[in-house]
Structures are given as structure tokens and as C-alpha cells.
């Protein structure tokens, strides 16, 4: 590739990525040259500014035609824009949590890294959203994963944090191996790593043996990627890692990393297996043939997440299982493959971003104050800080999916989607039943907050940066619950994922 071809590319579509990359590099250098004792929070604020700038530039790219550069490895379509907005929004809120995170356990010296590693992880996720090639998808995935491994273990002198990072690396390694193995079948059958080229060559597939092999590779890729979603059977790392990691990192893993997981799953499954046919052109795609397997994993994820959450006494572990459960709900939307699927998944992740990050903000305040993360520590929160208690109450109600909140609308979208096309009665019933189960553990926390006496009457000091997160989270959870069509109008007016995705 000569310099001339390089310079002819429409690089402007990569502006958001360049901003994040540039600022990440800048922070690395600044961190190096800053005097040792100096407060490095400023780096965090620069990071927030970078994320805000990147969000603006993503938003300004919306509405254009599909652009793909670098030999179709990087593509900017509506799908990429919609999900990058989620990734950036989530990462931005996480950064707000990170700047107010009290450094302890050996993290003091690595505070600078703490901030720019979030940015590199985010960069990986953004590349995944925009990639049109198995190689770039994988690179993005690994950039996200490796940054997350370090982040989980950044409290160097804390045993739990170390354990968390170690488990994360090992499980991540296994999952990567499985995913790659599955991808190798796809490459072997088509001789290409470009997603659209693969789709093209598979769309006329007639050979039964090839179809069979592709089915196997589908299972391996899906199970491997289930790791990022924390979906069963690859969910077991989540509680341990979530518990040991610093709270902002946990928040990042449960929201941004999970969103990135769905991005890559949708990208690969829909382009490759949505195009690959079972019996020659025009016949049923493999994806539909394998629908039952996704349904199986979705059901198992919902049941395991919700049921095991009942037994937890640590709030971060409980939220780990709750995040597993939410991944299960979203997988229901993926199973149903309705025309509304993109929007349902996007909206659910949006709602989940607000309610979950807001909850983690409250968790961060309470656990830092008490020095432990037991659910019992929330006892009497209403007496100690009525505002914080009401905020947490609203967020929990939204997580549980009550009417009037974004969580409800998200679930309703998915639920109605499950009956579009061939109805998935079993999956829909599991969704309802496990939602009811989830009331028990969410309201368990509520009981502690509102009806249990407080151990002490200490008030909470809420730092300004966390206040921002709380306000955004509550406003988002309520606004999209009361006026859900704001999001729909935004989508309809600016982005057309269905039309863009396969072109």
C-alpha cells in the first residue's frame, strides 16, 4: 500500500478514534514527566474532555453514507455510530467515577495509568464497533481485554485485586482461544478475513459438510464471545473479578465491556452466519438454524444470573450476577431476530448504562465510607442520606423493570420482540419468571435502605464528579421511561442500522 493510497482514504471518519488515541498517548507522556507527588486527577479530567470531544465528533458523523477505509477493515455505518455513542457515554460516566475513586492499596503510584488504560480499553471497544474484518475485530477485542486485565489488578498490594486480575486473564485466555479456533474454520472455508467477503462467498453455500463445520464454528465463536457478555457458561469469572476490581473498573466491565461484547457478537453472527446459507442461495441462513442454541444460552444465563444473585451478601457480587441476568435478557432479543432487534438491544444497553452506572456510583460512595461491600452496609441509608437513598431506590426500580422507568421500556421492547415472527413462548416465560425472581434481590437492597436501622448516623459526602453521574443516571432512567420515543426518534431520524449493516 503506497503512501498515495493511504492519503486518499477518508481519514475523517476515524476522528473519534484519533482523539482517544492521541489523548491516551498524551496522558502517558504527561504521566511520565509529572513530578512524583503531584495529583494526577487532572489526567482523568483531560480523559473526560477527550471522551466528550469524541462523542461530539461521533454525533457529527451520524447521518452520512456508509464509509469504509483501509481495504474495508474499518467501516463507519449506523450500527457503529449508535453503539460508539453508548460506549463513549458509558466510558465517560465511568471516568467521572474514576476521578473521585480513593486510591488505596498501592494504586497511588499508578493513578495515571488508571486513567489512560480506560482510554485504551475504550479505543479497543470503538474499533470493534467499526471493524469490517475478523483481524481488526480481534485486535480491538484484545486491546479492550488486555487493558481490562491490568485495570482489574491495578491495586497492586490488594490480594483480592490481584486474584481478580489473575482469574480474568486466565479465563480471558481460554475464551480467546475458543473464539479464535472458531474463526479459523470460517477463514479455512472462505479464505478471507473480510466480513463482507466472507458473507459473499458463504451466501451460496450448498455443501452439507461445510455447513456442518460452520455450525461448529458458530458454537465456538459464540461460546468464546459469551465470555465478554458474561453469559453462561462463560459467566463464572464475573463475580470474582467484579468483587476484587476497583469499583470504577467493575462499573466499566459491567457496562462498557459488555456493550462491546454485544457489538462483536452482533457483527460476527449477523454478517457471517446471517449470510451463510444451509442449502444453497435463498435457503435458510445458518443463524436461524442455530437460533435454538442462542435461546438455550439466553435462558440459562437469565436463570443462573437471577437465581444465584438471591444468595449473595456482597453488593458487588450481587451486581455481578444481576449483570449476567441482564445479558440474558438482551440475548432474548438476539434470539428473536425481529426487525426491531437492533433497536431493542441498543435501547436496553442505553437504559442499562444509566441504571447500572448510577447504582455503581452509589455503591462506590457507600463502600468507600464503610470500607466493605456488604449488602448489610446499606442498612438505614435513608436515614443517613435521604437523597442518596431515593436515587438508589429509583435505579433499583429501573433495574427491576417497573413501569415509568427506562428498564421497563427496555424489557417491554424485548418481550414484544420475542413474539414477532415465530413466537418464543418458553424464552418469554423464562424472562418473566426470572424478572420476578430479580425483584427479591433488588428489593432486598431496598429493604435495607429504607426499613433497617442504621449502624451509625454518619452523613455521606458526595463528590461533585459522582453527583454528575447520579444526576445523569436518574434523569436518564426516568426520562427514557416516561418518554421512550425520544430515543426512537433519534434513531429513526439519524441512523438506519438495518439498511447500513449489510451493505
Amino acid at each position: 500500500m503506497s503512501f498515495e493510497t493511504l492519503s486518499q482514504f477518508n481519514w475523517s471518519v476515524m476522528t473519534p478514534e484519533f482523539i482517544i488515541l492521541g489523548v491516551a498517548a498524551l496522558l502517558t507522556i504527561m504521566d511520565l514527566f509529572m513530578p512524583k507527588g503531584q495529583d494526577r486527577r487532572i489526567l482523568g479530567w483531560i480523559g473526560i474532555a477527550a471522551i466528550a470531544a469524541a462523542m461530539v465528533s461521533v454525533a457529527s458523523l451520524a447521518g452520512g453514507a456508509v464509509v469504509s477505509i483501509l481495504d474495508d477493515t474499518f467501516r463507519l455505518d449506523s450500527f457503529a455510530i449508535a453503539f460508539k455513542l453508548l460506549l463513549l457515554g458509558g466510558a465517560g460516566l465511568v471516568m467521572f467515577l474514576a476521578v473521585s475513586y480513593e486510591a488505596k492499596d498501592g494504586m497511588e503510584e499508578y493513578r495515571g495509568e488508571f486513567y489512560y488504560l480506560f482510554l485504551t480499553a475504550l479505543l479497543g471497544a470503538m474499533f470493534m464497533a467499526s471493524s469490517g474484518d475478523l483481524i481488526t475485530l480481534f485486535i480491538g477485542l484484545e486491546l479492550l481485554s488486555v487493558s481490562s486485565y491490568i485495570l482489574a489488578g491495578i491495586r497492586k498490594h490488594n490480594l483480592k485485586s490481584n486474584e481478580s486480575a489473575m482469574k480474568y486473564v486466565i479465563n480471558g485466555g481460554i475464551s480467546t482461544a475458543i473464539t479464535l479456533f472458531g474463526m479459523s474454520y470460517v477463514y479455512g472455508l472462505t479464505g478471507s478475513t473480510n466480513l463482507l467477503a466472507i458473507a459473499q462467498s458463504l451466501s451460496g453455500l450448498t455443501d452439507g459438510q461445510h455447513v456442518y463445520l460452520l455450525g461448529l464454528s458458530f458454537l465456538m465463536i459464540f461460546v468464546g464471545l459469551a465470555f465478554k457478555l458474561a453469559a453462561a457458561p462463560f459467566h463464572m469469572w464475573a463475580p470474582d473479578v467484579y468483587q476484587g476490581a476497583p469499583t470504577p473498573v467493575t462499573a466499566f466491565l459491567s457496562v462498557v465491556s459488555k456493550t462491546a461484547g454485544f457489538v462483536i457478537v452482533i457483527r460476527i453472527l449477523l454478517t457471517v452466519f446471517g449470510a451463510a446459507t444451509t442449502k444453497g442461495p435463498g435457503s435458510m441462513p445458518i443463524l436461524l438454524d442455530m437460533q435454538d442454541y442462542i435461546a438455550f444460552i439466553a435462558g440459562a444465563t437469565m436463570i443462573i444470573g437471577n437465581v444465584v444473585a438471591l444468595k449473595q451478601s456482597n453488593i458487588k457480587r450481587m451486581f455481578a450476577y444481576s449483570s449476567i441476568a441482564h445479558a440474558g435478557y438482551i440475548l432474548v432479543a438476539l434470539t428473536s431476530l425481529s426487525s426491531n432487534m437492533f433497536y431493542s438491544i441498543w435501547f436496553y444497553l442505553l437504559a442499562y448504562l444509566f441504571m447500572n452506572l448510577g447504582a455503581f456510583a452509589v455503591i462506590q460512595i457507600v463502600t468507600e465510607k464503610n470500607g466493605s461491600a456488604k449488602i448489610a452496609d446499606f442498612a438505614g441509608l435513608y436515614r443517613r442520606s435521604p437523597g442518596l437513598a431515593v436515587v438508589m431506590g429509583i435505579l433499583l426500580i429501573s433495574l427491576a423493570g417497573f413501569p415509568g422507568t427506562a428498564g421497563f421500556i427496555g424489557k417491554l421492547n424485548i418481550f414484544i420482540g420475542a413474539f414477532a415472527g415465530t413466537p418464543h413462548y418458553v424464552l418469554a416465560s423464562i424472562m418473566i419468571a426470572t424478572t420476578v425472581v430479580s425483584y427479591f434481590y433488588y428489593f432486598g437492597v431496598m429493604t435495607q435502605i429504607f426499613f433497617r436501622p442504621a449502624a451509625n448516623e454518619d452523613r455521606f459526602k458526595i463528590p461533585a464528579s459522582i453527583l454528575v453521574v447520579l444526576i445523569v443516571a436518574v434523569v436518564g432512567s426516568v426520562l427514557f421511561g416516561v418518554m421512550p420515543n425520544i430515543a426512537l426518534d433519534f434513531m429513526n431520524n439519524n441512523l438506519d442500522i438495518l439498511a447500513d449493516f449489510f451493505s
Binding site: M166, K167, I170, N171, I174, S175, I178, G208, Q209, V211, Y212, G215, L216, L219, M220, V223, F227, A232, P233, F234, M236, W237, P239, D240, T278, D289, Y293, F296, I303, I304, V307, V308, A309, L310, K311, Q312, S338, S339, N340, I409, L412, N413, I416, G417, A420, V437, M483, P484, N485, L488
Partner: protein
């Protein structure tokens, strides 16, 4: 009118502010509530005036879209809505002001104002809803507000019971409304009023279905408006603070049922049976409740039964196709009944009792309240030249023209009763010798008398917007531009109806004067003629007892049976399920051993399992 949605928002803001800062504001909470409802009132007046010259304004947006499934939300300002906005926000504002004096010193002063804000928000929201679903949501919210306010003195057993009763009785009606609404949606694929009317007009809905849905919706109205047989909650609801009775149980919430029937009038008018049902229930309630009112001795209960009876009048009017008559009486009644309740509150404030046997001779002591109460009494009795006279005349004319001679006679008798018991109340409270122990009786502060004066003025003049003498402005305006309603506009009744009505009400007043004023006829004249009758009336026809013996007993029987099933069958199953779920959770937690090897193994086993299933069933084999 584009911004009419702001009107309900002001009280909501008041509610939120008081919820968050009420404790700190204490009695200053009153100013928050008063100012914000004043804003609503001013805006409502502007909207009302704008509506005189401009056509109906409707705006709606898709509230929720999932695939092809649309739900809309929005608001509408038509004649009826604009009028209701004005009535509700006016009475609410006056009650807010009045309560500042009446509730002074109450420990939960700010909570009271917060609840008032919530209720006003719900009621105003209900009034501007353009579709049935939104109406239903606010309808329930109104019920919640009323529940909270009736049970405001929750430490009083009676108040708690009354709140519960009101909630349950109106819920029974709501079930009817809900089913009716769902059926309509099923038939017309829409919750929008305009779509429903269009579908009815175009004959897309069968006649039986129209009758059925209309009657089901009417059941909802029966519950909310305290019509027979679901009326028993309203008198009990008098346990709430008196300003609440004026706001909720006189002018606004109980009128919601009438409003619902009025706003769905095109649906009702498409079915003769439905209209007949409304008229008969209304007419019967009117005389039934009025007769109970004859013997009650609690000042608020007399007013409560009179409210039930007057609401019956409105239903009778609507059922006789007298759309204008019903709405007109709704308006005048809101003014004079709120006045009567506030005046009654002022009396109670002065003498600290509600028993009229312990009052008397208050005319000289309460120099403002007395005359104001008299105005209200004259208005409700239908004495010529006051507002009630014109609206009642309109209803009587509607009933006569509508071809219901029996109901017409019933209404006439009810009018006689009304005049009698209202003046009985007046004479017993304000004339004669002071009974009971009355010390330190003093007039209420001006913050309480001011709202009464405003309502007093309105109770006199409000009738002149629609009279046979000076033009039927209101009637013409209400049906303007609406063909479906035009046929049910103002009824020009024969003059003899007006004269007859006047004579009847004057007779009632004269009789009351003879017995309770001049005392030339023994008080036992009525009860003497038949102890039985008196006892029956005093016990409100034993309706409560009847419910206790039949419905409550049957329900209890069923509940014992169900409880038996519940303990042995359901609970067993539930225990089994929860045990299973808990066990599953425990197993899951146990699996979470912390060993990375286990985690990896689980992942591989999961993958292997899927692969085996695939190998056994999938691709190759098919």
C-alpha cells in the same frame, strides 16, 4: 392553548417541592401550594378565554412504539376540558388558600399540602387527557390522591377505614371501566376518543358492543361519582379534613364520573339502553340519597348525601340526553357545594363538633359564614335567581323533554327533599338557641372567609351564563362545532316546569321553617308518622348492613375457603418453588468455588454439551 399541558404541571411541582423540602418549609409550605395553584388557575382562565374564540386544540405524540404497536399521549383542549380546567383549578386554589387557616397548627401541615398538590395534578391531568388510557392512568392517580387525603388523620380508626373503603369501592367501579376500555380498544384498535367516536359513527362497532362498553364504563363512573349502589364510600369519606371534602368530594373527583360520561357522550348517545341505564341510576340515586339526607345529624354527612343526590341529578341529565344540562349543573354544583363545605368547615372550626344537635344560634356569632352558608343553601335548593335554580331547571326540562315522566317526578320530589333537608340543616345550625357547649365561638380568619366569599359570588351569578331569559351562552358554546352533541344542547322547557320547580323548592323551605325555624310543627312529625321510616332513613336504607350481610359475608366465606386452599395447596406449591429456586441459587453459589480450574471446566463442559447436541441433531444429520 399550545401550552395547556403546563396547567397540571404546576401542582406537580408543588407536590415535588413539598415532598423534598416540606419538612424545612413547615407552614410556609402553604405559600408554595397556593402560588403554584394560582399559576394553574390564571393559566386555566387564559385557556378558557382563548377557547371561546379558537377551535379545539389537540396534540399528541407517539409515546411508545414497538414495531407496529403504537401508544400515544398528549392533551386536548375542547370546550368541556377548558371548562373543567377552570373549575378544578379554581376550587383547588381556593381550597389551598382556605386550608392555610383550617389546617393551621397541624403537625403534618406540609404533608397535607403535598397531597393536595398530587391530587390537583392528577385531576387536572385527567381533565386534559385525549385518550382513554391516559384518562385511566390519571383516574387511578386521582384515586390514590383521594385515598391519601381521606386517610390523612390515619391515627383515627374511622379515617383509616374510610380511606380503605373509598379505595376499594371505587376500585370495584374501575374494574368495569378497565374492561370497557379494553373491549373498546379491541373493537376499535385505538384508545383515542376521536377514533372511538369515528368508529362508532361509522358503524364499525356492533350495537350490543356499544351498549356493553358504555355500561361498563358507566360502572367506573358509578364508583367514582358515588352513584347507587356504590355510593356508600362517599359519606364515610367525610372523615378526611373538611377542605378535602370540599375539593374532592364535592367539586372535582366525584364529578370525574360525570365528566367521563360527558366526554364519552357520543358513545353513550349511540345506545338507547346505555342512556336509559344512566338516567335511571342517576334519577334513583338523586331521590334515594336525598331521602337519607333528611335525617342525618352530622353536618358533613348531610352535605355528603346531598352531593350523592346532586351527582345523581347530573347523571339523570346526561342519561336524558341533556348534555348541556349535566355539564351546567356540574359547574354550578361545584361552586355552591364547595361553598357549603367550606362554610361547614368554618362552622366546625368555630364550635369543634360536627353534630348539628349541638349547634344552633350561630347566625349572630358567625357574621360572615352564616350569610354565605345561606347563599349556598338557597342555591342548592333551587331558589329563583341563584345559580342552582337555572341548572336544576335545565335538568328538569331535559328529563321531561327526554320522555321520562317518572324520572321527572322523582327529580321533582328529590328537589323538594333537597330544599327541606338543606334548610333543616341551616335552621338547626344558625337559628334558635345555642345547644351543646359553645364557648369562644369566633369567626374564622380572613384567609378562610376569602375563598368562601368568592364561591358565594359564583354561587349567585354562575347560573346566568345559561338562562332562558338572557341567552344560553354556555349551552351554545358547549355544543358548538360538534354535530354529535348539537342535538343534545339546550332544552327550552315549558314555563310551567320552572314555576313548578320553584313552588316545590319553596314548599320544602317552608316546611323546614315550620319544623325547625318557627317550630310550630313538631320535630317528630316525620318520625311520628312512622318510626319505621325514620329508622330506615337514619340507617341509610341499611345498604351498608346489606353489604355486610351479603357481599361481605359471601366474600368472607369464599375467602375462608380460598384461605384453606391457600394454606394447604398454594403455600405448599409456593414453598416448593421458592425452595427449589433457593436451592438452585445455593448450588450455583457452591459451584462458584473460586477455583479458576472449575470455571474453565464449566466453560468447556458447556461448549462440549452444545457441540454434542449439535452433533446429535444438527446440520450433518438433517
Amino acid at each position: 392553548m399550545e401550552n395547556a399541558w403546563l396547567i397540571p404541571l404546576f401542582p406537580l411541582i408543588s407536590f415535588l417541592i413539598l415532598l423534598l423540602f416540606g419538612k424545612r418549609l413547615k407552614e410556609a409550605s402553604a405559600y408554595v401550594g397556593i402560588l403554584l395553584t394560582l399559576a394553574s388557575l390564571i393559566y386555566s382562565i387564559l385557556v378558557l378565554f382563548e377557547r371561546f374564540s379558537e377551535p379545539t386544540y389537540v396534540t399528541k405524540f407517539d409515546w411508545l412504539t414497538i414495531g407496529d404497536f403504537h401508544l400515544t399521549a398528549g392533551f386536548e383542549v375542547n370546550q368541556l376540558n377548558a371548562l373543567m380546567l377552570f373549575i378544578v383549578s379554581l376550587v383547588s386554589f381556593l381550597v389551598h388558600t382556605y386550608s392555610k387557616g383550617y389546617m393551621h397548627g397541624d403537625e403534618r401541615f406540609h404533608v397535607f399540602y403535598a397531597y393536595l398538590g398530587l391530587f390537583t395534578f392528577a385531576m387536572l391531568g385527567l381533565v386534559i387527557s385525549p385518550n382513554l388510557l391516559q384518562t385511566y392512568i390519571f383516574w387511578e392517580l386521582v384515586g390514590v390522591g383521594s385515598f391519601l387525603l381521606i386517610g390523612f388523620y390515619f391515627y383515627k380508626e374511622e379515617a383509616k377505614a374510610a380511606a380503605k373503603k373509598a379505595f376499594i369501592m371505587t376500585r370495584i367501579g374501575d374494574v368495569g371501566l378497565f374492561i370497557g376500555m379494553a373491549l373498546l380498544f379491541w373493537q376499535t384498535k385505538s384508545f383515542e376518543y376521536s377514533d372511538i367516536f369515528a368508529a362508532v359513527d361509522a358503524g364499525q362497532v356492533s350495537g350490543t358492543m356499544i351498549t356493553l362498553t358504555a355500561i361498563l364504563i358507566f360502572i367506573g363512573a358509578v364508583g367514582k361519582s358515588g352513584q347507587f349502589p356504590l355510593h356508600t364510600w362517599l359519606p364515610d369519606a367525610m372523615e378526611g379534613p373538611t377542605p378535602v371534602s370540599a375539593l374532592i368530594h364535592a367539586a372535582t373527583m366525584v364529578a370525574a364520573g360525570v365528566y367521563l360520561v360527558a366526554s364519552l357522550f357520543p358513545l353513550f348517545s349511540a345506545s338507547h339502553t346505555a342512556l336509559m341505564t344512566v338516567a335511571v341510576i342517576g334519577g334513583f340515586t338523586a331521590i334515594f340519597a336525598a331521602s337519607i339526607g333528611l335525617v342525618q345529624t352530622d353536618i358533613k354527612r348531610v352535605l355528603a348525601y346531598s352531593t350523592v343526590s346532586q351527582l345523581g341529578y347530573m347523571m339523570l341529565a346526561l342519561g336524558s340526553a341533556g348534555y348541556v344540562a349535566g355539564v351546567f349543573h356540574l359547574m354550578t354544583h361545584a361552586f355552591f357545594k364547595a361553598l357549603l363545605f367550606l362554610a361547614a368547615g368554618s362552622v366546625i372550626h368555630a364550635v369543634h363538633t360536627q353534630d348539628i344537635e349541638e349547634m344552633g344560634g350561630l347566625w349572630k356569632k358567625l357574621k360572615l359564614t352564616g350569610p354565605l352558608f345561606l347563599i349556598g343553601t338557597l342555591a342548592i335548593s333551587g331558589v329563583p335567581l341563584l345559580s342552582g335554580f337555572f341548572s336544576k331547571d335545565e335538568i328538569l326540562a331535559a328529563a321531561w323533554e327526554g320522555g321520562h315522566p317518572v324520572l321527572f317526578v322523582l327529580a321533582l320530589v328529590a328537589a323538594f327533599f333537597t330544599a327541606f333537608y338543606m334548610f333543616r340543616l341551616f335552621f338547626m345550625v344558625f337559628t334558635g338557641e345555642a345547644r351543646g357547649n359553645q364557648k369562644h365561638v369566633h369567626e374564622s380568619p380572613s384567609v378562610m372567609t376569602f375563598p368562601m366569599i368568592i364561591l358565594g359570588v359564583l354561587a349567585v351569578v354562575a347560573g346566568y351564563v345559561n338562562t332562558p331569559w338572557f341567552g344560553t351562552f354556555l349551552g351554545d358554546w358547549l355544543v358548538d362545532g360538534n354535530e354529535a352533541l348539537a342535538a343534545h344542547g339546550h332544552h327550552e322547557g315549558p314555563v310551567w316546569i320552572m314555576i313548578l320547580a320553584t313552588v316545590v323548592s319553596l314548599l320544602g323551605i317552608y316546611l323546614a321553617w315550620l319544623i325547625y325555624g318557627k317550630r310550630s310543627v313538631s320535630r317528630n312529625w316525620l318520625s311520628g308518622s312512622g318510626d319505621m321510616l325514620h329508622t330506615v332513613l337514619l340507617n341509610k336504607y341499611y345498604v351498608d348492613e346489606f353489604y355486610q350481610l351479603t357481599i361481605v359475608a359471601i366474600t368472607k366465606g369464599i375467602s375462608y375457603f380460598l384461605r384453606f386452599i391457600d394454606t394447604f395447596l398454594v403455600e405448599g406449591i409456593v414453598k416448593g418453588i421458592t425452595g427449589f429456586v433457593q436451592g438452585l441459587g445455593a448450588t450455583g453459589s457452591k459451584m462458584q468455588s473460586g477455583q479458576v480450574q472449575t470455571y474453565g471446566a464449566v466453560a468447556f463442559i458447556g461448549l462440549a454439551l452444545l457441540a454434542v447436541i449439535y452433533a446429535l441433531t444438527g446440520g450433518y444429520l438433517r
